[in-house]
Point group: C2
Chain length 422, copies 2
C-alpha cells in the first residue's frame, strides 16, 4: 500500500469533524515524588490529555498481547465490551502506567467516572489510557485537579496540546492526518501516537488514537483496524520489549455525512488505504523517534511466498541488536542480515536472498543468492551514514512484500534506559 | 542441579585422559585484508586450534537452529552422520565464520582433509568449526601453513593455547573441568568455550568442545548432551541474536577404564551431573564475558508449574533490553521484570509472582503478588551496583525451577558492534 496516496493535512486528532482535544500539566510525576500537587507552571510539558467527540462514536480498539496488562487496558476493554464498541471521550495520562500497582483498575475507572460526570454520560463511553513507569501507585489527586482545566481548554484545535501530553521519552510529538473521498463526501482520518522504548511487534504498539468523520460501522472499523495494524504498528520494533499498556483506538464520528460503510467494497478499500497512510506514517515517526535512535532503519522484504513470511523476515532483521549496532556504526555487514533472516521463525528458505542497502546517497547490493559479495566499501559507508536507511531484501520466492520499521541501537538508548525511573 | 558438586580441576579440554591440543597464529584476518600471510609474530593471539584424541571417540554434537548454517556445521554434521557419531580430531579457526560465502563447504572439508592426512585417518573422523565474520571468503593458505606448526605443538597440556585460539571478541578464555567417579574409576570431564556476542537460546550457543575419558556410548552421550544443553547453553542470552555457526561437541575417549555407560542408572546420573557442572560453569563464564558486559545477570525462576515454563520465564527476563539497561544503571525497576515475564511465550499466569534482587550486598523484595512494592532504594542500589546480580522470581505455582544467564547492556556493546568488521 502507498504511504503517500492521499493529501496529508494538519490537525492530528482534531482534523476530522467533531473532535475536540486539550492537554494540561497535572504534575503527576512531581506528585509521586513529593506527595503534593506541583504548581501549574507555564511551559511544563503537558502530562494529561482529553479528547471529546461531539457525538457518540463507533469505536474499535486493539491492545497489548502482554499477559501483564495495564489497568487502563482492562477497563477500556470492559467499557467497550459493555456498550458494543462505542465511545464519546478519551482521557490519557503520561508519567505513570497505572500497572502492577494493586489499585489500578479502580483508579482507571475513577478517571472514566470523572470525565463521564462532566459530560453527563455513562462511564462506559469513556476510554482511558496511561503510559509511564510500571509498578508505582498512580496518584488521583493531580488528575482530579486537572479535569476542570482540561474541559476549559477543550477545542477543535487542541490536537497539539493533547499530542504533547501523551509523550514520555518521545522527543517529538507524532501527528498525521489525510483527506480522502468516500460515498461522495470529503472525509478525514487523523491521529496521534506516543512511544519511544518498550516497543515491539505483535501488539498495538504504544498509545495511538485515530479519529475519523467517515461513517463506518463498528464491525468494519474493527476489520480495517486489525488489517492495518498488522502491517503498520505490528511491524515496528524499537527494542523487542512488549509494553503492558499498548492501546490503539479508532473512533468514527460519522459527521462527514457519507452513507455508513457497513460492508466490503470500494468505499471500504479507500477508507482502509487512508487509514494505512495515517498509521504507516505514525509508525515511521515512532521508529524514527525510537529511544536513543540516530537513524530510521526500515526493512522491506519482497519476493516472499506470502504476507506473513514477508512480515516475519522484515521484523527479524529490524529487531536484531547486531544489525541495529551495525546501522549505528554505518558498517555494511551483510552477515548479520543473513543471520537474522536465518533465525526468523518461518520455514522459508532465505539462502537465495539478495540484500541491498538503500538511502538518499544511493543503493548497493551486498549479498546475492545468500552469499556475501565484495562491494564498494566507500559507497556503502556513504549510504549508511544517512539518517534514513532501507535494508531491501528480495527472497525470489513469490509476490508478497512487507515493510518493518525500526532504528539503530546507540549509546543513548543505554543511557536513557539505565535509569528511567529518576 | 548443583554447579559446584564435584572437584573443579585445571586442564580444560586436556584434563581428561587421551586428549592433546594446540593453538597457533595463522594470521587469517591479516590474510583477508592483505592477501598475504602475515609473519608469525610471537605474542599475536592464536586464531587456529587443533585437538587430537589418542583413540577414536564416541561423539555427540548439537548445532545452531539458524536456517543459515555455517559451512563447518554442515560438514561436521555430515561427517558424524557418515560414521555413526565418532571422531578423533577437531580443527577450529577464529577470524572468519566460513559462512554465506559460496565455497565454504569445500573449504571446511579441505580443513578436515588436511588434518586427516596428517593423522592417516578418514576425513569423516575430523570435526571442523569456524567463528568470526560472516559473508567473507575464508582463505585456506594461512590454514594450510598452520597445519604443521599445530601438529608440532600438540601436547597434553595444550589446552590454553587452544582455548585462546577460538576467542573472537571474548576478553578471557573459558575453560572448566571436574573430576568424578563412575563405575569405580576416577573420571574427568573438561571443556572450552568461546562466545561473546550473537548469543541467544534455542541452540548450542557459541562454540563449545567438551572432552571426557569416561566411557559412554554414543547414544547416552547424545542423551546427556541434549538434556544438559537445554538447561545450560540454551538458557544463555547475550543479545538475542542466534549465530549461524554454534556448535557444541562432546567427545569420550573412554580411557578412564570404566565399564561403558550404555543405559540409564546411577553412573549415567553422575556423568550427567558432572557434565552439567562443566557446562553450567562455562555458560556462566560466557554470560559474564558477554560483549561489553559490566555485570553478570542471572535469573532464577522457581515455583514454576514445569521446567519449560521456568526456562521460558527466566530467559525472557534475561533477554529484555530494558531489564539489561536497568541492570547496567543499577535501577531497581521491577515493572520491566513483570513486563518481560508477561510477554514470555507461555500460558503461565505471572501476576502472582514475587521478584527479588540478590547480590553479595544483600537481598531485596521489589514485587509481591505481581505488584510493585515500596522498598529501600539505597539498599536496592547497593545490591545492583555489584558485578554479579541475581533476579529471583517465585511464581508460586509449582516445584520446577530454572536459571538463565545473561549480562547487562552497556555503551561498550554498542561500540564493539558498531564496526565489528574493521
Amino acid at each position: 500500500m502507498d504511504m503517500n496516496k492521499f493529501e496529508n493535512i494538519e490537525g492530528g486528532v482534531c482534523a476530522a469533524k467533531g473532535f475536540k482535544a486539550s492537554g494540561f500539566y497535572a504534575g503527576i510525576k512531581a506528585y509521586m515524588q513529593t506527595g503534593e500537587s506541583a504548581p501549574s507552571v507555564p511551559g511544563k510539558k503537558n502530562d494529561i490529555a482529553l479528547m471529546v467527540s461531539d457525538v457518540v462514536c463507533n469505536t474499535a480498539g486493539v491492545y497489548t498481547s502482554n499477559k501483564v496488562k495495564g489497568a487502563p487496558v482492562v477497563v477500556t476493554k470492559r467499557n467497550l465490551a459493555a456498550n458494543g464498541g462505542r465511545a464519546k471521550a478519551v482521557i490519557v495520562n503520561s508519567g505513570n502506567a497505572n500497572t502492577c500497582n494493586g489499585d489500578g483498575e479502580e483508579k482507571a475507572q475513577a478517571m472514566c467516572d470523572m470525565v463521564a460526570q462532566k459530560l453527563g454520560i455513562s462511564s462506559d463511553l469513556v476510554i482511558v489510557a496511561s503510559t509511564g513507569v510500571i509498578g508505582q501507585v498512580l496518584p488521583l489527586e493531580p488528575i482530579e485537579k486537572a479535569i476542570d482545566p482540561l474541559f476549559d481548554r477543550l477545542s477543535y484545535t487542541g490536537n497539539v496540546e493533547a499530542a504533547t501530553a501523551i509523550m514520555t521519552t518521545d522527543t517529538v510529538k507524532k501527528e498525521y492526518a489525510v483527506r480522502f473521498t468516500a460515498g461522495g463526501r470529503e472525509c478525514t482520518i487523523g491521529g496521534m501516537a506516543k512511544g519511544s522504548g518498550m516497543i515491539h511487534p505483535n501488539m498495538a504498539t504504544t498509545l495511538n488514537f485515530i479519529t475519523t468523520d467517515c461513517a463506518v460501522s463498528s464491525e468494519m472499523l474493527r476489520k480495517a483496524l486489525s488489517e492495518v495494524v498488522k502491517v503498520t504498528y505490528n511491524c515496528l520494533s524499537v527494542d523487542g520489549d512488549q509494553s503492558t499498556n499498548d492501546t490503539c483506538m479508532l473512533m468514527s464520528s460519522g459527521l462527514a455525512g457519507n452513507a455508513e460503510i457497513a460492508c466490503d467494497g470500494s468505499d471500504f478499500d479507500t477508507f482502509r488505504e487512508a487509514l494505512y497512510q495515517v498509521m504507516a506514517n505514525l509508525t515511521r515517526m515512532l521508529a524514527k523517534d525510537g529511544e536513543g535512535a540516530s537513524k530510521l532503519v526500515t526493512c522491506e522484504c519482497t519476493g516472499a511466498p506470502n504476507l506473513d513470511t514477508a512480515i516475519i523476515i522484515a521484523k527479524s532483521v529490524i529487531r536484531s541488536p547486531l544489525v541495529k549496532c551495525a546501522m549505528y556504526g554505518a558498517d555494511a555487514n551483510c552477515g548479520r542480515i543473513m543471520c537474522a533472516m536465518g533465525y526468523a521463525e518461518t520455514d522459508c528458505d532465505v539462502t537465495k536472498a539478495d540484500v541491498y542497502y538503500i538511502s538518499r546517497a544511493g543503493k548497493i547490493l551486498v549479498c546475492k543468492d545468500g552469499l556475501g559479495l565484495s562491494f564498494d566499501e566507500d559507497l556503502a559507508k556513504k549510504i549508511l551514514t544517512e539518517d534514513e536507511i532501507e535494508i531491501f531484501v528480495d527472497l525470489h520466492m513469490g509476490d508478497s512484500s512487507a515493510t518493518a520499521w525500526g532504528c539503530d541501537l546507540t549509546y543513548d538508548y543505554v543511557k536513557i534506559n539505565g535509569d528511567y525511573r529518576s
